[in-house]
Amino acid sequence: MRIVLTGVAVICISCVDPINTKVVETSDHFVVDGRITDGEGPYKITLSSTSNYSANIDGFTKYVSEAKVKVCNENGGCIPFYEITKGHYETTADVSLATVGHSYHVDILTKEGQRILSKPEILKASPPITKVYYEYDINTVTTEGFKVYLDTDDPANDRNYYKWETLSYFPYSSQCFYEIPGDLKLLLASDKFTNGNAISRIPLQRAYFNRKDYFLVVAYQFSLSENAYAYLENVDKQVTTTGSIFDAPPTLLRGNLYVPDNDDAIVLGYFAVCGVQEKSVLIDRNLHGVSPFPRSKPLSDAPCYCGVPCKSDCDFPCNETCPDSPFNPCLCGAAPCPPACHYLKGVTSVAPKDWPLPHHPCN
């Protein structure tokens, strides 16, 4: 019987091994990553170019500076984007650019004179989010946390394509908040097979239960065009392929960007025009479970902050040091904000609007 079992086991367990292989790198193209919405600005566009495939992780991206970037509507009205840091272009915060029913495209002129346009897309309103909710989830101590879900009601009128993103907030100090974007994993759906029905239990993210205080999840629901959805779906398939006989081989991911009068030129990325809706859920972690972490406790109002750069939480009594001391001292007294908050990546002094506690904004 051992032989028999081995035989079947082999059929079912194929082998996947990481390997080293030589790749000939040839292409050099611009990459546009940006979107405008009917929500609040500022709107952001990044311009970069392809690089060595094995060094293309965020942080090694070859950003492209000094381009002239604007977004225009169908009537020729344009709003300029300004370069904030290398390759990152933004509108001013107060600009309200896009409205439902109008079409928009990006118009980029690089320093070398290369013009890049996107095919215009019409801004389609996003249906409202019905509900964002969480469920306490404890399978084992290490996975104790909360699963955050979203429900929405798909309108029956026509095809809708969705993308969901989240931002999470939890206290950094009494005056600053961590602002953490959700997973990079793309959360997408189409109503092709569910038109007019509820879309239930979209698993937005997981909130970890490592402290006893509030945790706010703000969910954003974007409406996508059919093309944008198809593009993102292909991105998702490509980065999660298993190389099996059921997987389509990887292909060029064609977005909606092009070089006028040059059909052979390839511009990667996508410029999306989206309607957006948001809804948040507040998790009061005091009300759940038994905290397994001894240092977890409600955030004290005692002014105290960690020195720069601070890598860990700073909700300790002032006479303690931060975990990474001496390079990361826990400093007593009022945190020097807003600079401290702004200085730290992922930390903000702006309280999220649904935050329940009294907050002491910096002046």
Binding site: V4, C12, F193, A248, G269
Partner: protein, 807 residues
């Protein structure tokens, strides 16, 4: 009565008086010539007589279709028709016929006839003699056909099997010109053709899915099969419908003499075949079935991932034949196949086939033979999603009905006419979605497509001289896509897309949506230099109206089939092939060399990132272009002796070009690129060593070039996701594939009083456990740079054992 001599003489004794060719033939020790009637007709004015013969299996009386019958020293010959009969016009007096068929010993029949004569020739299965095993293919020098592989079903049992199941497709993969994308892939590729370009006929009914367990096992058991002939080129005029090949599989008709059977137990499945006469030898039956017990095994394994998996299949055939009289015969075949497969997770797959065929064979006159065939094929599959709140069943399938009449008329000893006509009806379900339970999924009523194909053909074979034979013909087809149906419309002169979609036209059931007419000229010729060598040449053209719509690198049983419509043009294949065939060393060895060039118009491909399932604007994601394939195939076969087997080598290329004036409708900038099954070098060595009358070893080694895959040419980040940029399709290759398999076959002792015989087969697949790559893929999982991985479908040695009792 008339004079008739029975001659049972070793041909070696006759070698000096007969032609030189006879000296090289070994006469089988058993043959039978029965002369039991005369036609009562006067001999022809040319002093010729008519020989009507029938070729049967000497063991069980089954008809042998497609056997070669040659008149020694004259250079004329023929093959047996669907009734196992042949007709020859010969000179009065002494004649010698050489009758051969793969898997049987060669039979020499020497007879002296003065009047029209009927012969019954019985061939002895080669396996009944230990020292002579005719393997592989029939005598290519004598056969007229080019581009043909005939699989010897008895030799198949000696090829080391995977999981204990002798398998027809695995046998074909050892022949030149036949390859596969990789282990686990459904189907096979012939001379650079896609998997859907093969027409697979099981007793005349097309089989749309040939696989169990996705691609590991062929969907019909070899135990019920009498012959499997693969036509790679020079397609006979009575075949059509696909542009790459026809695999014509015939089931056995059942033992005419007594009830017999066979019961086999392997590690994956068990099979049972029972056959015999019903009341009289004029009616026979054959029932054969196979069922897997892999589900039970998966449950028994202490691995939670496997416990959640399910894999099971069964298949079965029933064949009943009845001889009304000498001239009229009827046969009925039913074939069923079913699979159920579940991966750990949320999806289950099920697919099934139900085919019927009814065939009437009539000999109208001594030289006119008619076959009437009715077939019905049904293939359907269901993919069930079990994810909470989104439970669904997705189903699709094909219905095929066909009626046709084929006639052959031997106008004179050197001229044979073939003609026929028929009609096919296709109904293709493009996919329907049904919610299950309290699911959020809306049902989608599936689109259906209907088409009628009518066809007619006429062809002739002319034996110009003893050396030169030519065959030519024309096949005409009319294809009509008919309503009810809907066709999307787009702005003309622009690429089909969401943006250029203008609306949908509806057609009622009496309307023709699209019509295509095609003609298929075919010519082939053979020049026989002498009895040992021959040159052959063929040009043929074929059209294909049904296509698999799949953008994965391997076709699977749950891929969509689609009919040609106003956008999806029929595929057209044209091939020229030449061959040189030579037998050496008393026909113990045979060398075949063939070269071909094939051009296919309108091969189906897909836009980068196209979506195919339940896509109501599917044509906007499909592309069509051309494919070209060319290659040289060599095969050296040793047919007799303790060691038999063959070496096969194919050097070939297959490329595609998808060109358009719109960049998004091009692949690789409109340049030729290798097809995903392009394997320039394919080598195989297959041998069987008969140690004793009871013990034989099987050996099998294959070496293939890696298959084309797509490597990134750069990387970039989008929304902080690391993305590899794949710009050139199929710009790299996997490493080479090689594998060694071994098997040992042990037969039970032959005891005259015992009515059964047992056979053990022990085998090792992938002996040195090479992790042959199916694919190299790049995965970033969002968070890291795209890292290359190698996927090996079978990365270990796979042992198996099976036991078979024949009674």
């Amino acid at each position: 009565m008339f004079p008739c001599n029975m001659c049972n003489t070793n041909v070696k004794l006759r070698a000096k008086s007969q032609t030189a060719r006879n000296a090289f033939l070994r006469l089988s020790s058993i043959f039978l010539l029965i002369c039991h009637t005369s036609f009562g007709q006067p001999a022809t004015p040319q002093n010729k007589i008519l020989i009507r013969g029938k070729v049967e299996d000497g063991g069980n009386g089954e008809t042998i279709v497609g056997a070669n019958v040659l008149v020694s020293g004259v250079g004329i010959g023929t093959t047996t028709n669907a009734s196992g009969e042949y007709f020859l016009r010969l000179s009065r007096g002494r004649n010698t016929l050489t009758i051969s068929f793969v898997g049987y010993q060669i039979l020499n029949v020497v007879f002296d006839a003065q009047r029209d004569t009927t012969l019954l020739n019985e061939l002895t299965p080669a396996t009944m003699l230990q020292e002579i095993v005719v393997t592989g293919e029939l005598d290519h020098v004598q056969s007229f056909q080019i581009g043909q592989n005939i699989l010897n079903i008895s030799a198949l049992q000696k090829i080391p099997p995977l999981l204990g199941e002798p398998d027809i497709v695995r046998g074909l993969l050892l022949m030149p010109g036949v390859s596969t994308v990789g282990e686990g892939a459904t189907g096979f590729n012939v001379r650079g053709g896609a998997v859907d370009q093969n027409l697979i006929l099981l007793d005349d009914a097309p089989v749309f899915n040939t696989s169990h367990l996705f691609g590991f096992i062929t969907a019909f058991s070899s135990t019920a099969v009498s012959s499997a002939e693969l036509y790679k080129g020079g397609l006979p005029i009575n075949y059509g419908g696909r542009v790459a090949s026809v695999l014509d599989v015939k089931l056995r008709q059942g033992n005419k003499r007594n009830i017999s059977g066979r019961f086999g137990v392997g590690i994956l499945a068990t099979n049972l075949t029972i056959e015999g006469p019903i009341l009289s030898p004029r009616t026979t039956f054959l029932v054969s079935g196979r069922v897997s017990y892999s589900n039970w095994l998966l449950n028994a394994i202490q691995n939670p991932r496997l416990k959640e998996s399910k894999a099971s299949f069964y298949d079965g055939t029933v064949k009943v034949t009845h001889d009304f009289n000498k001239n009229h015969k009827l046969s009925f075949t039913s074939y069923t196949s079913h699979d159920h497969f579940k991966f750990p997770g949320d999806t289950t797959y099920g697919w099934s086939t139900q085919n019927f065929s009814l065939k009437a064979l009539s000999t109208l006159r001594s030289n006119v033979f008619l076959t009437t065939t009715l077939v019905s094929s049904n293939y359907k599959y269901i993919v069930s999603g079990n994810q909470p709140t989104n439970e669904f069943d997705f189903s699709a399938g094909i219905g095929f009905r066909s009626a046709k009449i084929d006639a052959t008329w031997a106008v004179s000893p050197n001229i044979k006419l073939e003609f026929g006509a028929g009609g096919d009806r296709y109904s293709v379900a493009l996919g329907q979605l049904d919610p299950v339970g309290a699911s959020n999924i809306n049902g989608i009523k599936g689109n259906k497509e209907y088409a009628n194909v009518t066809f007619g053909y006429v062809g002739t074979q002319f034996d110009w001289s003893d050396h030169f034979t030519v065959r030519g013909g024309m096949r005409l087809l009319s294809y009509q896509l008919v309503g009810p149906g809907k066709i999307n419309e787009y702005t003309s002169g622009q690429p089909r897309s969401e943006d250029t979609f203008t609306g949908t036209a509806s057609y009622s059931s009496d309307q023709t949506i699209q019509r295509y007419a095609r003609w298929e000229p075919r010519v082939s010729m053979r020049y026989k230099v002498n009895e040992k060598s021959a040159f052959k040449l063929a040009l043929d053209q074929t059209a294909q109206f049904i296509h698999v719509i799949s953008n994965t690198s391997a076709v699977s049983p749950v891929d969509l089939w689609k009919l040609s419509d106003p956008y999806l043009k029929p595929q057209k294949g044209r091939q020229v092939s030449i061959g040189y065939f030579r037998s050496v060393h008393q026909q113990n060895y045979e060398l075949s060399l063939e070269a071909y060039y094939k051009h296919v118009d309108n091969v189906v491909d897909y836009k980068d990132g196209g979506h195919l399932l339940l896509n109501d604007r599917l044509e906007a994601d499909l592309l069509q272009g051309i494919a070209r394939s060319y290659g040289v195939e060599a095969m050296l076969e040793k047919k007799q002796g303790k060691i038999t087997g063959w070496l096969s080598y194919t050097l070939s290329r297959t490329e595609r070009r998808i060109k358009s004036s719109f960049p998004e409708e091009q692949i690789n900038s409109g340049k030729f690129y290798p097809a995903s099954y392009d394997k320039p070098h394919v080598f195989s060595a297959t041998a069987s060593y008969q140690v004793s009358s009871r013990v034989s070893w099987g050996f099998n080694f294959v070496l293939y070039s890696g298959r084309p895959i797509t490597y990134p040419t750069a990387g970039y980040t989008y929304q902080q996701i690391s993305i590899a940029n794949f710009e050139q399709r199929n710009n790299a290759r996997t490493p080479a594939y090689h594998r060694l398999d071994l098997s040992l076959q042990v037969n039970s002792k032959s005891i005259p009083t015992r009515k059964w015989k047992g056979t053990w087969v022990f085998s090792l697949y992938n002996v040195y456990a090479r992790k042959n790559p199916y694919s190299i893929f790049f995965r970033s999982d969002y968070f890291t740079v795209a890292q290359p991985y190698r996927l090996s479908v079978i990365g270990m040695v796979v042992p198996s054992v099976s036991y078979t009792i024949s009674f």
